[in-house]
């Protein structure tokens, strides 16, 4: 008999594409409802200001205006504040965060009132006519300054130092006193603006007769939004339906529950009309979360030969003015990877979370792990420079040996599997590392105006979020499982309903590939439904590179259940014992008699008409499975960046970028490569271009795409990719996840390359983003030129300043 084609492991073209390529995507902004009105938010122009009287009369009289509401007007709508679900310590201080602020604005963009009007233009015009009697206050933006509590953002908390968390350490801490070499560095990780190209949008409708509400929203997390928004808006979870239609990128910025989502729901209830809101890009920069915003002090202990013995890291993390969904949990997520892929004997990590008068921070692609990797990989290069050794050699002698079974790491969690030297050596080989060093030496000797720099970054990430029991131990409010239901229909098609919720990752195709191989159908036969809590009610959504390792494993288990059920029916129809059947590619046949066969889809018809089922057999061929992973997954890899730095101008030009990643078993190599491309590009942007800057009053200086430098195609290289494949031991598919790897690995690879290009001139430190100005100043400072003193914060000298406040 013919064996059906297998799809897993092949670059199957995306099922998602045709409608998107035709301009038929269903983005939230494209949707509307009869009788719909528009909301606009009146936002604080000040970073810190008391809210006095609000005069809404002028706005209320304007054309098309339906209503204007202040925070006080809407107080009765709320069952509680906006959700914050990760109180990481027992004594964490939690700022109260309402959808609109009543007493004072705590960041530029904090909402104080809303206007509802017949059109978007009318709503926006009227919002400008709302008069607020502001009393501006001093703002605090600098982390160390904020920790002194001269200006307190939340008076009721009494301090800006809201949380201190420590991993607690592992191994022999005395190594940080006794090792041959101790390198101390301080690194700044500026705030970043995620910039999904689709701005946020939401549309709420109420169904009065049923007491039900539907919210269509640009979210990565419809399920988490349902349970949490239900609480904020006083709507039973059973009466709230959340739909994430096509979502135009997220990168963590849509892994959140926002004030505007609560507001449109409350207004739909108050006004009994559908209410829509669409974010402008300017609002996005103020009112959608920022990422990073960290300051690290790191110590590396090592032998004189360059064997890394340990990392000790203390971090200050900018929470912004409030917590969003996960805010203080983000540094903690990084807190488990500050050993990197290295076989260290000592580990210490702690961070202090500080509130400031700035946009709240939260998960941005990689969430804690890029911050960690940047610090480690910069520090490893600093170590190599200190002892005069090749940075590749230092890494080579310190990488963990390969392991195929799970083992406990020095930070206390189990690593699933890893072969870090394999990816490392492959990356160096692909880059032609030795040749590059030769070329670099030649250019240095000739005093070339364009110097070559080679930057390496080896990383490990913690993905597949997450084992529910560990999340519980870490005080996260929810679990980390996911769920999938598979139905085989009598027309030969398959419906697959899954709790993960994509926003560009190609899940529909990937899940269809997996289902096709078990069921003996083609990906075109599989309809994947997701992102609607009424259709796929069970799930924990998409973030943390979890969807394939948790969601697709649930799918795999549901397929196994279908197979088990179908086997009973096949044995019945073929009149043999179940043990006499063999299964291959969607079909059961009698051992030794391949023509006596029943495909699963044949059996789906029998199970559906149910005319002749075995006793006790439940009609229909369908199954649901829920998977709670026993461990995280731990992808890893090595990236190499090759740059030219113009020593006259400080400009950096990326010549080549080599990435070798190990995400375990690959379902669709085309999609995996695409995830690496995009992730690396975001990391290059972080390394060279992007930085959210505020002035001292808390005005966002990089307030639009004209000031915040998102790279275009001309600023990106082509990428050279390869993979190693070390199957995960966490799940039966052997998959690890790839969504964040590029963003985690690339910033230090790029910055290390830039510093490497000019290190022979004496440069040892350049902060992110390594702009031409910063590079030029660093060269001038190192060579005694006139251009730059080391006035910018950061540097490799001296003992690290202690985190103030709660750090102890």
């Amino acid at each position: 008999m013919a064996v059906a084609e297998r799809y897993v492991g092949k670059p199957v073209l995306r099922k998602e594409d045709p409608e998107m390529l035709a301009g038929q995507a269903r983005f939230t902004e494209n949707l509307s409802a009869p009788g719909m009105v528009w909301m606009s938010v009146v936002r604080s122009p000040f970073a810190h200001a008391r809210v006095g009287a609000i005069d809404t009369s002028a706005a209320e009289g304007m054309d098309g205006v339906v209503a204007v509401f202040t925070a006080a007007d809407l107080e009765s709508e709320w069952g509680g504040p906006l959700p914050f679900v990760w109180p990481i310590t027992e004594d964490i201080k939690v700022p109260v965060h309402w959808p609109l602020t009543k007493d004072k604005a705590r960041f530029q963009g904090d909402g104080v009132a809303v206007v509802v009007a017949e059109t978007r233009g009318q709503a926006e015009d009227a919002a400008e006519a709302v008069k607020v009697d502001w009393e501006p206050l001093d703002a605090v933006l600098d982390l160390e300054e904020a920790a002194k509590d001269g200006v307190v953002v939340h008076e009721d908390l009494g301090t800006n130092v809201v949380v201190h968390w420590s991993h607690g350490g592992g191994g022999d801490q005395s190594l940080f006193d006794t090792a041959d070499v101790i390198v101390k560095e301080r690194y700044l990780g500026p705030r970043l603006i995620p910039n999904a190209i689709e701005p946020r949008a939401c549309l709420a409708q109420s169904v009065p007769a049923m007491g039900e509400f539907t919210l269509i929203t640009t979210t990565q997390i419809p399920h988490i939004a349902r349970v949490t928004l239900g609480g904020t808006c006083n709507i039973p979870e059973s009466k709230l339906r959340i739909i994430a239609p096509d979502v135009g990128g997220g990168f963590g910025s849509k892994l959140n529950v926002y004030a505007e989502e609560a507001l449109v729901l409350a207004l739909a209830r108050r006004l009994q009309r559908p209410v829509k809101w669409v974010e402008t890009r300017s609002e996005n920069y103020l009112a959608t979360i920022h990422g990073r915003g960290v300051l690290h002090d790191v110590e590396v202990a090592a032998t004189n030969e360059g064997k890394i013995l340990g990392f000790r890291v203390k971090e200050l993390a900018d929470m912004g003015a409030y917590y969003q969904l996960l805010t203080p949990g983000i540094p903690e997520l990084g807190g488990w990877v500050y050993m990197g892929p290295y076989d260290v004997q000592a580990y210490w990590y702690e961070f202090t979370g500080i509130v400031t008068n700035a946009t709240p921070t939260d998960a941005y692609r990689g969430a804690g792990r890029p911050e960690a990797t940047y610090v480690l990989e910069r520090a490893v290069d600093a170590l190599a420079r200190r002892i005069g050794k090749d940075p590749a050699e230092v890494r080579r002698m310190s990488l963990m040996a390969p392991f195929a079974e799970a083992k406990t790491s020095i930070m206390g969690l189990n690593l699933d599997s890893g072969n870090y030297p394999a990816a490392f050596e492959r990356a160096l080989e692909l880059a032609g590392y030795e040749e590059l060093r030769k070329e670099q030496r030649a250019r240095r000797e000739s005093g070339d105006g364009r110097q070559l720099g080679i930057g390496i970054s080896s990383y490990i990430e913690m993905c597949g979020l997450a084992p529910s029991n560990i999340l519980g131990a870490l005080r996260y409010a929810a679990g980390g499982w996911d769920a999938c239901a598979v139905q085989c229909l009598p027309d030969g098609k398959v419906v697959l309903k899954i709790g993960t919720s994509p926003h560009g990752q190609g899940h529909v195709t990937t899940w269809a590939q997996i289902a096709s191989d078990t069921l003996g159908v083609t990906p075109d036969d599989v309809e994947v439904l997701h992102g609607d809590t009424s259709v796929a009610p069970l799930g924990m959504d998409t973030y943390g590179s979890r969807s394939v390792s948790v969601g697709a494993t649930a799918l795999h288990l549901a397929l196994e259940k279908i197979k088990d059920k179908a086997r009973v029916l096949a044995a019945h129809e073929l009149e043999v014992a179940e043990d006499d059947l063999e299964f291959e590619a969607g079909s059961f046949h009698v051992k030794g008699a391949p023509d006596r066969a029943r495909t699963i889809m044949d059996l789906a018809v029998s199970a559906w008409h149910a005319h002749a089922l075995p006793a006790g057999f439940e009609p229909n061929l369908e199954a649901t499975a829920v998977w709670d992973p026993p461990n995280f997954t731990w992808p890893a890899g090595t990236h190499v960046c090759i740059v030219e730095v113009d020593t006259e101008t400080g400009a950096t030009d990326i010549q080549r970028y080599v990435a070798v990643d190990d995400c375990g078993v690959v379902i669709n190599p085309m999609i995996v490569d695409g995830q690496v491309h995009g992730g690396v590009a975001q990391g290059i942007a972080e390394a060279l271009f992007e930085e959210a800057r505020y002035d001292e009053q808390g005005n966002l200086m990089t307030s639009s795409m004209t000031q915040y430098l998102i790279p275009a195609a001309s600023e990106m290289p082509s990428f050279e990719l390869d993979r190693t494949e070390t199957p995960s031991t966490t799940n039966p598919l052997g998959v690890k996840g790839i969504g964040e790897a590029g963003t985690i690995a690339s910033p230090p690879a790029v910055v290390n390359a830039v510093i490497d290009a000019v290190s022979h001139l004496g440069v040892t430190h350049i902060d992110k983003p390594a702009s031409p100005e910063r590079v030029w100043k660093a060269i001038q400072a190192a060579t005694g030129g006139s251009g730059g003193s080391r006035s910018e914060r950061g540097g490799a000298s001296g003992s690290p300043p202690r985190a103030s406040g709660g750090a102890s």
Binding site: R14, E16, M20, L21, D673, G674, G678, A712
Partner: protein
């Protein structure tokens, strides 16, 4: 309100709009052609790129009244007779899109550029996309798609 009549994807379309209405909102709201997306408010991202008399323009930077009496091409009109345009096909085959939000603008910009320069180098393609931002793909497969389409289209002409 001002009356505008615009030939959109070969069809005469008319509507009354406020004089301040941008072309992109005329397309999206008056005509229901929501394939053209809006990603910023500073003419930076290029998600709203359409063709005006055959040239690519950012439709957030053109008033609907400026398009009066002229021809506009949008993503909805890119395929013909149910066949994808070679660029659409190349984006599909080369995984040139992920979330799909920048994609209509990318396709419109690329279509107009390939008319100007049917046989571009990689560097030229990258330069030509300076006004179109993508946050998902790192541009790698977008560039690959456009080069692939250029070669398909020149093959078809030969």
């Amino acid at each position: 309100m001002t009356h505008v009549s615009v030939t959109v994807n070969g069809e005469l379309r008319e509507a009354d709009v406020e004089p301040r209405t941008l072309l992109v909102y005329f397309l999206r709201e008056s005509l229901g052609l929501t394939g053209t997306n809006v990603g910023c408010d500073t003419t930076s991202c290029g998600a709203c790129t359409v063709h005006l008399d055959g040239e690519s323009v950012k439709s957030c930077n053109v008033l609907a009244v400026q398009a009066d009496g002229r021809e506009v091409g949008t993503i909805e009109g890119m395929a013909s007779n149910g066949e994808m345009h070679p660029l659409q096909d190349a984006f599909h085959r080369n995984h040139g899109l992920q979330c799909g939000y920048c994609t209509p603008g990318m396709l419109m910009a690329a279509a107009s550029y390939l008319k100007e320069n049917p046989d571009p180098t990689e560097e030229q393609v990258r330069e030509s996309l300076e006004g179109n931002l993508c946050r998902c793909t790192g541009y790698h497969n977008i560039v690959k798609s456009i080069l692939d389409a250029a070669s398909q289209m020149s093959g078809a002409r030969a």
